[in-house]
Structures are given as C-alpha cells and as structure tokens.
Symmetry: C2
Subunit: 388 residues, 2 copies
C-alpha cells in the first residue's frame, strides 16, 4: 500500500425529508445564493421548498448553469456576488451545478484573472492563491459525479475541460434525498450509473499494491451498481434501489477508495475529448472508452483484470485470458443493459474522425496517460479504433 | 436503507515516515501536551522523535494513561493543563491513550464536575455543554479501536465503563505509520484484530436494510482481517500485512460502514462487564462473546448470518442452518488461530460466576441489548453459558 493523505470534512444528510437541516446549517443572517441548472429544480418545486426552509434569509437565485459548466456562465454569478454581497452558496442540482458552484466559490475572492484558476490541474489550490472562499451547501438531484462529497470540479472553457481541485471547495454539507432524483430522465440515470462505475474502475483497475480494504470497497461499489442498475432505471421510484445508486455514486469519488492505490483516469481524459468534439454525454463517453481501454491495456492491468473478473463478475472458470475477455464483454453488456450507446459509430463518429480526436489529446498534452503513463497517442488511437 | 448523517473531519497521514507533518499541522507557537501510556513509546524512541519534530514548541509530557483509561488519571492531566496553559494535545499511543486524551480535551473547559461528562451515553456532547475543546492530534501505535478517526471514547470510573461521544472530539489529524506497531506484544496485535473484527460485526450482523455498499465494505474489512490475521502476528514486520491491519481497524469504526444500518453492540456491552469484573483484555472478551451471541441470536440475525457465511467465509453448500453453524465455527477458529483464548473457562471464569456477570448487566441497565432490544438478561445468561 502506498503512503497516503485523506481528508473529507463534508457533512452528509442522507434520506427522505432532510431539507429541514438547512435551517440549522446555514447562518441565520446569511445572504444565500441558490445556484441551479436548466430549471427542472424550479419546475419540480424543489427550489420552492428550499426557499421555504431558508425562511427570512435573503436569497438570490442564479439559474442556468449548463451541463459541462462554462467559465463565462459562472463568472456572471461571481459578478452578482461581488455586487450584492453573498455569504453562502447553495447548489441545487447535479455534478455540473455543484462543480460550477465550487468554481464560483473559489473565484469570488481571487485577486486576479479567474482563468488562472483553470491551470492548476490536479494540484490543489490553497489559501496562498485564494485567501477566502464562500461556504457551499448542496442539495443533490442527480447521482453520478460524486461532486457533492469531494473537492474537485471540471470547468469548460474555450473547448477545453479543466480540472479544478481545492480542499477549500469541499461542500460544508450535502443533502442526498433519493426521492429528488425520481423525476430524472432515464438517460441521465443511466449516464450516472456509468459515471460512478468508471470512477471506481479508474481507481481500481490498475496494478495491485496489496490494498485489500480499498479493493474490496471498490468491488463492493461496482457490484452494487451492477445489482441495482436496471432496477433503478426501470423502477425510478424504487427507493432502495435509488438510495443504493445515490450512495454508491457518492462513495465512488469521495476519496475513500483512492487511498494508497495507483489511479488511471485515461478513460476520463479520452472521454473528455469526445464530449468536447461531439457533444456526447460524459457518462456515455466513458461507457464507450472503458471496455476498449481494458482490452488494449490487458497486459499492464492483467492482475487486477483477473481479480475484477473473479470478484466482481464471479467468473472462475477458464484461463486468465478467458476470464478477462468475459469480464470485458460483461462490462459492455452491463452498459448496454442500461440503455447506453456503447460504440462511437452509434453516435455517428467514424474511423476518419479518429485523427482529430488524437490531435486534441496531443494538443492538451495527454500523451502519456494511465497509471503507468504508457497510454501514448498511438495507444489512444488503438483504443478509439476498438471503440468504433 | 435508513436515513443517516455522516461527518468525519479527521485528517489521516498514513504510511512510513510521516512524522514531519507535525511541523505544519500544529501551530508554531502552541504549547503541546504529549500524552502517552505505560512508557513503551518512550523506550522505543518514538516520543523522542515526536519531540524533535515539534522543534521549539513548548512541550509538556503526560505519561501513565493506563489501558481502560481512568477518570482520575485523566483529571491529573486536566489540572496540569489548567495550571500551565496548553494549546494542543498530541496523543501517542493506542485506543486508551487516544480515548483518554479526548476526555481531557472535553474536560478542560467544562464548567462543572467533569464526571457529568460520563453520563451522556451515546448522546453527543455539544458546545452547549462544553464551550471549547483543545485540538487533538494522534500518533497511533496500536491498530485496534479506531479511536484515531472517530468521535468516541470509553472512560473507566468506579468499576464502570462509560461511553463519551462528541463531534468536538474528532482528532484534527492522525498519523498512522504501520512500522510504529512492529514492536507490539503479539497478544496486543491479536486483540486488535479481534477488536476491529467485532467492531464490524456489531454494525453488520443485524438485519438487512438493503444497504449494499455498506454491507460489501463491512465484508471487505472482515475478509481483510481474516486474510492478514495470522500473517501480521507471525511476521510483525511484514509491512503490507500490518498496513492492511492498521487501515482495516481504522475503517472498522470511523462511521463509514455504520451509515444507514441498524447496529448491535451487545457483544461490547457484555464484554465490558467481563473486563470490569475479571480484567480480561477487551479484545478477548469480544472473541469469547461474539460466537455464542451469534448462536443464541441466530433467528433474529438469520438473513445476515447466511450472507456472512456465504460472502465472508465462502460457504455455499448445505442448508441455511448448516451455513450458519459452519460460519460460527469458522469465526471461533479464526480467533483461536490468532492465539486468543476463546472460552471463559480458559480465563478461570466458571458457571457459578455467571449470576454475578448478569447482576452487573442489570445494575448497568443493560437489560434489552442488540439491534432489536431482545437480548434480555435471560438471553445474556444463555450467551454466557455458551461461552464457558
């Protein structure tokens, strides 16, 4: 097991009818900016309920944070906050709204051009750079990204997707009420399952370092997603299935399965280019890329792939290679069972576009991906070819 | 899954050679009280290394915190702190030292008789009662109790063991270096494995509430302890085995597997009486009581016991009852394989002493134990008879 640091101070309020915690977890005299997305949270009545719980607090609403939240949109909120004086940010939405709100929180008191904050990569932004942030609370409406309990965000700017990490960006609290996700479009639920699944594989399907608790936890999240996947899609109001989806998605990226182990993230890096170039949903890009990546990197990931086959899929017969083949096939079938498109061609992306994708990877410096750095542009090309 | 709240702000520094984080995680101008136990941390040189990292900070040492830390001992530290002015508590030791240090932290600014703090039970002590606490850091030397990453303590007073819980008692940070545990006596390592194992079963072997991630995580910790148990005892300097032991023990009681599920704790309650009456090590009392309790409560725990048999022990043949029998037998064998005594009679406790134990349970109001409250004194008596 590698040395590690772990810290996660986000307070979770999980379950039915938890909105009343807003009363005691936001200062009485705070001016609160409620951030949200395209308006489904307004139409569902959730924003109204949130405002009711906020009582006499002054409230400013900021809607319109788009999927893959854009820098320009978020800076409009920053301007309003600077003009109006806001003490607390309350994000009501999914990963994009929460990610965007984290960026707003960091940008408000940054003394400089806020685009600077897009260039720290996976290096944590500290109080040396940003002296002060606005505290954030979240009300989650989409189980997928884990943003509700982590310190990261991904911000879109100029056709690029930029990771922004800061310990200061951990939400103070997150309300996870599975019933708020009942009205999601089916495709978003499916995307969310794929997203959570691949958050886990990025931290698990690498090489073994004898981190047994972490491995078993990762496998447990994957097994849970497999077990409840089609149920929570076909029966959106099945509370237990959705509750397991929500908590699995949060646990998939709150740092706890990442401790002391190598991490990959190549599937995400390649997937980001597919979203940027073709507008394919984030979760679907991952479902397309992962199986092909596992196929191409089967030597580098050999030991963990066999473990994955045995423990997650219960495959105990055959040679190691046969186990790996079957596990990859079952992974694709699982994504297909969720109703996801699992091939680039299903999205209209064809072989002649692969050089464009590879060029974008090169332009973004993504020439040595994965836990070993061995996914060169040539390897990425192979992965994309297998994804057609 | 039940509704739940989760919050754990302790920062973990895990691995080899982490003491240098003391330099940046304790204020430069702090007066630091280092608390420790019987002196093994002095003899091993660890206290010396800690002091070296503290540099010019004023340091006060307070040794002699005993196993099952006593109120009277801890209040001596409180007196010194009140007289000398201390800003930060640094606990160097195992669960008893850390538990005791949490109590010191809470008692220092309590305006009243500190014995009051022993009577909150499992109700969290808040800032309404204790306006201010001293921040705590820990350097762990014994993997067992999980105290390094939770908000609880158990304090001994007048032949009773009293739980003390407070969010304010979470350590600010804990340094978990597996190499600091290499010199532990074998029996303490074995006790630590049993303690961690039974922390998990208290939160897992109850009744199902469809909490899939939590179940898989609990099973993963149990499997890890089973896999590394005899190795880490026979090869104390096997880093990977010990690292897994340390992290499993921390994860067993940091709250993460407890979310949204029922909890038992009857084994601990009965075990506490055995420690108080006969001085049997905490871990060993648990290893004695658990298998008998599972036997007696096999109906109330039926579904989870079958799951335990199948998933933790890989028992797939036979009837449910046969699976349960074999799982309980394997549990006993596991504790035995660690070198633990697993019968009361091995500690010289005989049938004629059972009424005394039951009387103590009654005196402490422990007459309706477990997740269902169905472990009456009569049931406890049966459990003890099976434990002879």
């Amino acid at each position: 097991m590698y040395n590690f640091d772990f810290y996660n101070p986000t307070r979770i309020f999980f379950g039915k009818d938890r909105l009343n915690v807003l009363q005691t977890n936001i200062p009485q005299d705070a001016t609160v900016m409620i951030t949200y997305g395209g308006g489904s949270a307004v139409r569902s009545g959730l924003i109204g309920k949130v405002k009711a719980e906020l009582g006499n607090r002054r409230v400013i609403e900021f809607g319109g944070i788009e999927p893959n939240p854009k820098y320009e949109t978020l800076m409009k909120a920053v301007e309003i906050i600077r003009a109006e004086g806001v003490d607390f940010l309350l994000a009501v939405g999914g990963g994009s709204v929460i990610d965007g709100t984290k960026f707003i929180s960091l940008a408000v008191h940054y003394n400089g051009e806020a685009t600077d904050l897009l260039h720290f990569g996976f290096q944590s932004i500290t109080s040396t750079t940003v002296p002060k942030v606005l505290p954030i609370g979240t009300v989650l409406t989409l189980p997928a990204t884990g943003s509700e309990m982590n310190s990261g965000a991904v911000i879109s700017y100029n056709h690029g997707k930029f990771p922004v990490m800061s310990e200061m960006a951990y939400p103070k609290f997150s309300i996870l009420d599975p019933t708020y996700t009942y009205t999601l479009p089916t495709i978003q639920v499916a995307n969310g399952i794929a997203d959570a699944f691949i958050h886990v594989t990025e931290q698990y399907l690498t090489y073994p370092v004898d981190a047994r608790v972490q491995d078993r936890m990762a496998e447990g999240i994957l097994q849970t997603l497999i077990e409840i996947g089609t149920t929570t899609i076909n029966e959106p109001e099945n509370y237990d299935a959705r509750a397991n989806h929500v908590w699995a998605a949060t646990m998939a990226l709150n740092g706890i399965i990442a401790v002391g182990v190598p991490q990959d993230w190549a599937t995400h890096m390649i997937g980001h280019e597919l979203t940027a170039l073709f507008g394919i949903d984030h979760g679907q890009t991952l479902a397309i890329v992962l199986p092909s990546l596992l196929e191409v990197c089967r030597d580098q990931k050999h030991a963990k792939l066999v473990q994955y086959a045995e423990r997650v899929w219960g495959i105990h017969d055959g040679s190691d290679d046969q186990k790996i083949d079957l596990a990859i096939e079952k992974t694709r079938e699982f994504f297909r069972s969720l109703g996801l498109k699992i091939r680039l061609t299903e999205h209209g992306v064809t072989a002649d576009q692969i050089p464009t994708i590879v060029a974008q990877l090169e332009a973004h410096g993504l020439t040595a991906l994965s836990e070993t750095g061995k996914i060169t542009l040539e390897v990425s090309k192979k992965i994309l070819e297998l994804s057609l």
